[in-house]
Symmetry: C2
Subunit: 427 residues, 2 copies
């Protein structure tokens, strides 16, 4: 029998409790021992009982730390303050940790994982990225013989839901966000979702894992979806793309670039058909080539699936006396490149005066910076003397595009200019 404590009785905490109960027999058969939630740290007893928690509630964390029977602490509090203290103290006390806390791991990963290693305890975090989707496990196990060159993910369900509704039903951003909020997919303050921060935390964790070099939230260039307008979506469709909020970590010549941004994804790409609240992670590896892992990125039972899977992994470590091997050790230190160094094809959107020589002027601003044009669509904007111009470039450095945009914005004939990255097989 392995006894565990759960910190925090929110949606996921309730799911963990329920899942351990619901599949108790199979869990016991599979790992050769029972798992029991001995204590739950939660001040609000009514809340705990309302989600079916029948175990002993504590209000003091020390009580859990001092309980020698408790071998695994499941941290589901979230945030970077009290949760940080809890995890550090658990490790110091020689207890193994399961956490879903991406906020914390994307900032304090190095400290937490190295302390765990030093103290010989496991720290498992499958639920911190993409909810139920097996991604940490496969990268650390089945795919561990590969060198990864890129990870491309749809890592936030709220924004994917919003973009799917904008794409499929022509909703505006505001309408789609309202629908997401009504369905409980978006929080009262959705900023960490819609600004891309949530996805950025996850891509920092995945980048650390893929490239064996620590990546943190501050290394991730981040752009959200709040500025996307219906016309962008329509245009993407016309060109054979769909707009997704993509989190990406890629490596070239031992240097890493990480970002989250709205991206034109070709309809033929496996990520293009990942819709609604579903998440997916696409991996580019030297041996396995292309792998995509797809599923629910959040929710009570899907997240509990990964948390309880981690608990079972640690139960095996305990039984084998091999704790201290699960974590996220980074044995290399690679340079992080600024976003300007990104090489990709881009979609440049402009609103310009509808008069002679405008296209020539724009094309030469691009050409002078080595950016070559793959295709152009120009259409008049009704009722004003303006034109909407869309340019798909060949592969170019982002900095060259940004310089061209700065320069174009100074021209009297340019009213607006912005870019989307275009995903392709070579990104």
């Amino acid at each position: 029998m392995v006894k565990i404590a759960v910190l925090g009785c929110g949606t996921v905490g309730g799911g963990v409790f329920k899942l351990i109960k619901q599949n108790a027999n199979d869990i016991e058969q599979r790992i050769g021992q029972k798992v029991e939630v001995k204590k739950v740290l939660e001040r609000d007893a009514d809340k705990a009982h309302s989600i079916g928690v029948t175990t002993e509630l504590c209000t003091s964390y020390d009580e859990i730390l001092q309980d020698d029977e408790i071998k695994i602490i499941v941290e589901l509090i979230g945030g970077t303050e009290f949760a940080y203290d809890c995890i550090i103290k658990a490790i110091e006390a020689g207890k193994n940790v399961v956490t879903a806390n991406k906020d914390l791991l994307a900032i304090k990963g190095e400290e937490i994982f190295s302390l765990a290693k030093q103290k010989g305890v496991d720290i498992c975090f499958e639920a911190s990225v993409a909810g139920s989707i097996p991604i940490i496990g496969p990268m650390q196990n089945v795919l561990c013989a590969n060198t990864f060159s890129a990870i491309v993910g749809i890592l936030n369900g709220t924004t994917n839901y919003i973009l799917t509704k904008m794409n499929d039903f022509g909703l505006s951003y505001e309408e789609a966000l309202k629908q997401a909020a009504d369905l409980g997919y978006a929080e009262a303050n959705p900023s960490s979702d819609v600004e891309g921060t949530d996805a950025a935390r996850k891509i920092a964790i995945l980048g650390s894992l893929a490239f064996n070099s620590r990546c943190t939230l501050s290394n991730v260039y981040c752009e959200g979806i709040t500025k996307i307008v219906e016309k962008d979506i329509i245009l993407a469709k016309k060109l054979g793309y769909t707009i997704k909020l993509i989190g990406m970590a890629k490596e070239k010549d031992d240097k890493i670039i990480l970002f989250v941004r709205p991206t034109f994804v070709p309809m033929s790409h496996p990520l293009a058909s990942v819709n609604d609240v579903f998440n997916a992670v696409f991996l580019k590896c030297d041996a396995a080539d292309e792998i995509m892992l797809y599923g629910r990125g959040a929710g009570e039972m899907p997240t509990a699936s990964s948390v309880v899977g981690d608990v079972m992994t640690i139960c095996n470590s305990i039984a084998n006396n091999t704790t201290g091997q699960h974590g996220l050790d980074c044995y290399k230190q690679k340079e992080i490149l600024p976003i300007g160094e990104l090489e990709s094809s881009f979609c440049l959107r402009l609103r310009v005066a509808d008069k002679p020589n405008v296209l020539a002027g724009i094309a030469s601003e691009l050409g002078n910076r080595g950016v070559s044009i793959e295709s152009v669509i120009q259409s008049p904007v009704p009722d004003v003397d303006m034109a909407s111009l869309t340019i798909i470039t060949h592969k170019a450095k982002e900095q060259a595009l940004q310089d061209a945009i700065s320069s174009l914005k100074e021209k009297e004939y340019v009213e607006k200019a912005y870019i989307f990255m275009c995903l392709d097989k070579t990104n």
Copy 2:
């Protein structure tokens, strides 16, 4: 340093050798020790050298068995005779085994896995199902807290390539098969692919794993793709489906049903966009809900990715002194149901005389057996006095459909009658 032997120097054997060399540094960092291919069992020295194998070649298996330094045997011979002997002898000699041999595991799984457990050695088989795709690992680890209710897979790249070309370019089965053969995707004798046997072996392995109850090849109802005609494909498209060769294992009330058959997959289903030689496995689980794992199902480096991943897993077991825990233990014994017990919606295709009362006659044959109709499309067949009739049924028992078909075939107005299963979210 862990020393291994590789049996068989075909495409995958060469890939394993290459991958261990290519990523030697990272492999060592990740598992804390070097991996060396000490011996290769291969009679054809020219073949071995031509694919870059520089290690010692043996022609006698005993030499490998008697080499105490060799801790892991990688069986890549295939087939069920010599490979079977090799694996049994390896286990008897206390050596751990990595195998990609689905033919063998789908027939002799029980014997092999129980012997391995008894002898305390690991047997890993990630590459036996869906090449590079992490599926055995995630089911045994990250998803191990779940109860699975169904596994639905596109498990054979050759047939998926053929069906993709028939669908996208209107090729006939024969034309698409020729193209697959020209590209090296189909073997000279493609029968185990196109008749569904290859996929059936894989679904037997996945069924055993998902339901903790041994499933073998003979438990799998199997239908290939050779009878699919262009009109079936066109019709499926018109109705919003694409035809895929689906392998499925599902459980209901502790009973298992397993099959491989051409299936109407709705375009909105994640499996519908799995094209060309790619494979994918879709899992229905109680906690994680829907998971899909996608990638290359065959090929030199993709298969080597899974094989070397397994080798690294066993290296960890050896270092930890915990071998004997990796295998496929089935702790339940569940009844296998005949295909007639399958409940699904179906697409019934008929070619009938174009005269009054025919539809009424067919509808009453179905209705009398409790099969209700969701939709009907009738169109005349040019130049003859016949009509093509397509009926999508509501959920019904397959046996009822088959009985109706038998009875319909006796009517003078029915020339042809056959069915496709339709996949839906409730299958």
